[in-house]
Symmetry: C2
Subunit: 219 residues, 2 copies
Amino acid sequence: MISLTEENYLKALFNLANHAGEVNVNELSKQLDIKMPTVTSMMKKLAGKKLVYYESYKPLRLTEKGKREASLVIRKHRLTEMFLAEKMGFGWEEVHDIAEQVEHVQSAAFFDKINELLGFPKLDPHGAPIPDKNGKLAWVAYDKLSDCHVGETVRVSAVVHTSSEFLKFLNNREIKLGTRIKIKSIESFDSSMVISYDNRPAETLSHAVCERLLVEKKV
Amino acid sequence: MISLTEENYLKALFNLANHAGEVNVNELSKQLDIKMPTVTSMMKKLAGKKLVYYESYKPLRLTEKGKREASLVIRKHRLTEMFLAEKMGFGWEEVHDIAEQVEHVQSAAFFDKINELLGFPKLDPHGAPIPDKNGKLAWVAYDKLSDCHVGETVRVSAVVHTSSEFLKFLNNREIKLGTRIKIKSIESFDSSMVISYDNRPAETLSHAVCERLLVEKKV
DNA sequence: CTAAGATGTTAGAATAATCTAACAAAATAT
DNA sequence: ATATTTTGTTAGATTATTCTAACATCTTAG
Ligand SMILES: [Mn+2]
Ligand SMILES: [Mn+2]
Ligand SMILES: [Mn+2]
Ligand SMILES: [Mn+2]
């Protein structure tokens, strides 16, 4: 049995993993707002459960079992977010905090029903893919808007690090998934972008914003 | 802040309270499947939070604050049950176990939305009243079917101690809230009742069943 | 009214999850 | 290459929730 606390560690490990699947104790500590010694002792515990590979002073890595369990928690989280947004009428900026709690419900029937009522969605309200029942995740590689060039037209496909504040910022400008953005110019001194979309007046987006908007070029 | 564990104790205290609002340590211990010494120490803790009146060897009683907090947990439980049944398609025998977990979500917006989507229901799927936002509960005094007499026609209005098994038993016989039952005869040796309803063949219900069906006589 | 039995409390310990302080190792910057 | 900073671990303590064993009180059946 995996406790609520352990589920949160697994989820964070999965989300922080770099290309090589590695996470540092310090990063995990910051992500969870839990002190490093606590993280170290939890890692030893998860290693005992064969969910994490742990060696002193080495980066942390989820085992295959750990990846699967983490994906299943992420599945519950994203299905919940989608249900809150699509079936209950919450905004995409509201769903994360509630899903953070509901994701820990232990009832396969509950999440199966949500999945069914939603018509087996592939993506959550932030454009993130929903892992399947075996924990398999179909990762699509989007581009950051900040990596695109002047003159290109792109489609907003996902948002990263979806703080409520960032999503409200996008709401205020009516930027959502599917919005087609044309890049008018890029200020070289701060990498901010002047863009146009939806027949609205031109907007300037800071580099911080452009980095968090994931887009597709082939629209 | 009231923890998940404390919420469960409060709920059990509220549900077990007799006419005088009293609960014994032993009953509470059995209800929660937690040993008596643990219950005693938790009662001291809740007394410290002014949620329970506690005196050694005396029956336990919720304070007014305790009653309100307990009612608010029960509100979350019953709204969840109703949502699971009405909006998600779960059977009344399935909703309790899931609601037992979802009731601990801390988000007023979540339960307000559920309430709104349901159209502000007054009763849960088992006929139990849903407390209002202030924890006020409109208790209706129903009769047990077992207290009714031969020849009477009554309407099933609620079920008590809603174990999944009992509810499946009722499902098998198509007895639900609203079913109009006519009492054909009562066996004096075991108090079982022969009843008819919905143009179905006569059924015999044991005393144990009749005690758990709450009915209204004025249909 | 007393002896059992049931109920309730105290004491001491365990587990899970967290912390601070101190120390150790690794990475970085002169 | 050494000193400094950052990162990670160990040790020891704390809080929340639970348990068993032993003892105390209350209730009930002769
Ligand atoms: Mn969580
Ligand atoms: Mn999301
Ligand atoms: Mn509960
Ligand atoms: Mn109910």
